[in-house]
């Protein structure tokens, strides 16, 4: 058992835990967050994606040890921000979601991209979400939503 300290959605946390636990399980079972989901368990589908120090990672293959002294943001934290509002409106306008299971992960991927590259090209958006699988939308409306958000959110990212 190790004391793991990290910031979760802006709040300082400490948990005494087996550091090999999957971050996904700690978020869902210990912190009762439901945004990150298990779609594949092998870091392939991105439904479990969260931000680690602002960058997208797959929480299903992140050991808790690796978030020690870092900041973790899930959709629950992200949805309190202005950037989320801009992205959300764009997703609604462009119909960028259908069943919604990949959507929290897509939002995380979009934030990870836009915070590094506020004015991405279409190709860069596609690469930015290339680790998030979607079976419903064929991706194009999600890409349009991210491009729209980057335009509408001038100065935010």
């Amino acid at each position: 058992m190790t004391l793991i300290k990290f910031k979760l959605n802006g709040i300082d946390c400490e948990i005494e835990s087996d550091p090999s636990l999957r971050l996904l399980d700690v978020l869902r079972n210990h912190f009762k967050l439901t945004g990150p989901k298990e779609g594949c368990g092998e870091g392939e589908c991105g439904a479990c994606a969260v931000l680690l120090d602002g960058k997208i990672v797959n929480s299903c293959i992140t050991p808790l040890a690796n978030v020690h002294m870092k900041e973790v943001t899930t959709i629950e934290g992200y949805r309190e921000t202005n950037k989320y509002q801009v992205l959300k409106e764009a997703m609604e306008f462009e119909n960028g979601f259908q069943c919604g299971i990949c959507t929290p992960g897509m939002m995380i991927a979009a934030e990870s991209l836009l915070s590094k590259n506020p004015h991405p090209t279409e190709e860069e958006v596609r690469i930015g979400i290339s680790g998030n699988l979607c079976r419903c939308t064929g991706y194009n409306m999600i890409v349009k939503a991210v491009l729209r958000a980057s335009k509408k959110g001038e100065g935010i990212w």
Partner: protein, 699 residues
Amino acid sequence: MKDISTSIPKMDADDKISGRALYVDDYPFDDLYHAKTLRSTKAKAKIKNIHIPELPDDYFVVDKFDVPHSNVVKMIFEDWPVFANDIVNYIGEPILLICGRDKTIIDSILNQIIVEYEDLEPTFHYVKSVIHKGFVKGDLNQAFQEAIHLIEYTYETGYQEQAYIEPQGFVAYLEDENKVTLIGSMQCPYYVKNAVIDTLGCKEDEVRVIQPAVGGAFGGKEEFPSVMACQLAVAVKKIKHPIKMIYEREEDMLVTTKRHPSKIILKASIDMLNHITGIKAHVSLDSGAYIGLSGVVLSRAMIAVTDAYTINHLDVTGDVYETNTVPNGAFRGFGAPQMIFAIEMFMNHIAKKLKVNPLQFRLEHLAHQGDLTSTSGVFRDPIIMKPMIEKAMEISGYQEKYQKNEQNNNFKGIGMSWFLHGCGFTGSGESKHIHAKVKLRKDEHDHIYLLVAAVDMGQGAKTSLSKIVAQTLELPMSDVSFDYPDTDFITDSGPTVASRTTMIVGGLLARAAQQMKDTWKPHEEMVVTMNYEQPDYIVWDEDTLRGDAYPAYSWGVNIVEVEVSPITYQVTIKNIWSVYDIGKAIDEKMALGQADGGISQGVAYGYLEVMEHKQGKIRQKNMTDYIIPTSVDMANTKTVIMDNPYALGPYGAKGIGELTLVGGAPAVALAIEQAIKREVHQIPATPEYIMELMNHDID
């Protein structure tokens, strides 16, 4: 009044984008037990003995001996056991559940169980027919006798895995001593409810099924959830404690239903005007170990034999072959994608053989209003395929690109597919089996509630059905609610399958809303129900497969442009154009979203998605090995929806759910053919297959 097609914000936007939507794995429960399945490791064997270690306190085995009434899962054809009987018929067949609190301990127990098998001889390939069907139209023998040419080809299609991002899962708990409640990822709450009632042998009000948010389904959650639900219902009655069972991704890929692999043999008689006078067809489907709904898949595949064309003489037969592999089932298209691939390639291959222009050749056979369908029904409604084809060719620059690619060895190709999809259940399903009923309730605040069983699995049923009701009642959307189905409060409007939700359920809701409007009592409770009535001119004979197989048809054109690398044989999808006739879009953006998603799956079925088995063991069993498109694999799409209102559909709407998938594979296969100058006879047309074709000079 506003045009209903004008897009509105979807009702579930807030929940889904914010991550607040609760899928089955998200529901908070105090103190849940978990269940995991022990599965057969043999393709076919007799179970001689099962050695179960001594179980710790509070851990349970649940198996066939615990089933109170019927160890068969109720579905269209009832041969699927809840728990395996003495003989296991596929690798992965469920034998028993281990239930308990700690998953690690459950895993450890499962690892210690020893099953003694006596090996039996498994069957693979198209050998053991368990269902045979046939229908005829006109006089094929005559047509063949008089033929100038007889041309025959064989086409094969592989598995396709639905690969919904949310794996299958259920939670079961006892509401009181006698009532079992199930929450699960599903398409058909009443399929689940009725299967559980049958397995438990209990009363109708002793089972409750609640739909949570569903993370994709595509047919994969049509009949399979009933299997899980029956197992958990038996378990929860035994251990009297809430149980959750969510499949691992690999488990889901290995043991849940997939699209039926097929082999289709087509033979055509050609007259001296280079016209197809008749087609003899045989469809073989691999159903896996149990039949389930394979018979209906076979029917749909056979009925799709002439696709968007009219051929006067037909002899169509089909067989469902049982093999010792995972049972196959519903997947968007339901037999049509297999057949439409075959017939579209066939039309082009015949044209090539006759040395005639394929476009011209196909146009000459295009169906017209008033023509007899493949099953000697009638295309009663206007068909606008000609303008749709023209539109598709215009927006894609098809003719110019086609000519350029034909004349050059540029490894580029453009392919066009034409197709239809029958809306609603095949044949007499709606009137004989489903008996759809809808219910609308108005409370004293004049708020409207839709009480139907339609499941929104991403296609937007929550919004589209609410929109139909709101528009009819001339109310704002905020006055209408459609909560996820809960069988304690709704009526059985039928399963969310077969492209029936907008047309049939939406149609009934429109009529119910109209009735509510006509009899409106302000500030008073009102309940209106409406039952499905088959229009009496729709006549269908299930035994001879003759008559109107569907009340209406939606139509489509897909054009796919590809580049093939002569070095790696990989295919790059450059562009996709589509034109659809779905009667009328209930919401344009939602329809375009369905179009994007459907074509992505259809095209990938044609060139990308590979699933094979070796002696009954599936080789591609996770998201790494089973390849579905990522955002960088998908091309830009341009889709046009052309109105062609259907008199009996709500606001003229027909079906859309499956239409947008069924044409993708032939469009991409035809494009690949042009790029590599070789004929494609099987899908997926992988780089490995393309390399084989290109390294053979003669086909």
